[in-house]
Assembly symmetry: C2
Homo-oligomer: 167 residues x 2
């Protein structure tokens, strides 16, 4: 690989890790209110234009996944239902609803922390983000800060099991 | 078919048509504000607990599809992110995002007016609603008041072409 490409790759990697850390901060907020810790930020032109964490139980609303809440914010910020030049950073592989929303919003790129073998729709169960039949495909980057992302989930479910034992 | 089954089938058909008419009324509201006319109602125990129409351009929000707005209302009404005993009536076959949301909400049944060969995810491009890999499958009924539903869409797009000609 040419030196220039190598430098560009490193620069992108650092940027991806920086924003994934911001998504992890969001996930921690979910953890603190006893929600499955999933966090998300949306970035355009090197600025965060949407950030959110899973609040499905708190809001009693099926739409309160981190990704949808962040997309709603980003749409409000840009005044457009299209998020064409945006990158989403999310700590866990998105479900069928959130993946579908990304295609609908024509999101440019999604960066994923840990994968979700049982229910993920960015390649695990299904790859809704890159189906040729749809009018848009989303670029996917996997495994950014994977360990931190999956550790937060493991810790949460381990806590949950402990709590259950006590009752 | 036994007489009892026949009567039950007719009763269900009438009920389905009644609620699809309510969904068509919603679609008409979208038509009147120049949005693609798609309408939706959600029914539980023979009561409408959510109704909405497509407002994606008006709201400048990718989440403002009729189905998601109606689900949000239904969640608010029931105080639960699960819509397990609910039936959705929607004038057009849902997209990947809305189909995904129905599976997430564990919706019981969806009744569809007209199909969407190019983008529908209740059987046309993909059947997200009934994938064995997911933890929930949604019952599907197709073709209820199909003609009225597809005519409303055709009329809308025909108007749109006329408007474009004038500029």
């Amino acid at each position: 690989m040419a030196l220039k490409d190598e430098l560009e790759k490193n620069r992108q990697k650092k940027k991806d890790e920086k924003y994934m850390k911001a998504a992890l901060k969001e996930a921690k907020k979910a953890y603190d209110i006893n929600e499955v810790p999933i966090g998300c930020v949306i970035v355009r032109d090197d600025k965060i234009i949407g950030k959110a964490y899973n609040k499905r139980n708190t809001d009693k609303n099926v739409l309160s996944h981190a990704e949808l809440l962040a997309m709603q914010q980003a749409c409000k910020k840009t005044g457009d239902w299209r998020l064409e030049d945006c990158t989403m950073y999310v700590t866990l592989e998105p479900c069928q609803m959130c993946s579908g929303a990304m295609v609908q919003a024509r999101l440019k790129r999604v960066v994923i922390g840990s994968m979700n073998a049982k229910a993920g729709c960015a390649g695990s169960v299904l790859n809704i983000l890159q189906m040729e039949e749809f009018n848009h495909q989303v670029e996917i980057e996997k495994g950014v800060l994977e360990e931190e992302c999956s550790q937060m989930l493991s810790a949460f479910f381990s806590d949950l099991r402990e709590q259950k034992k006590q009752f």
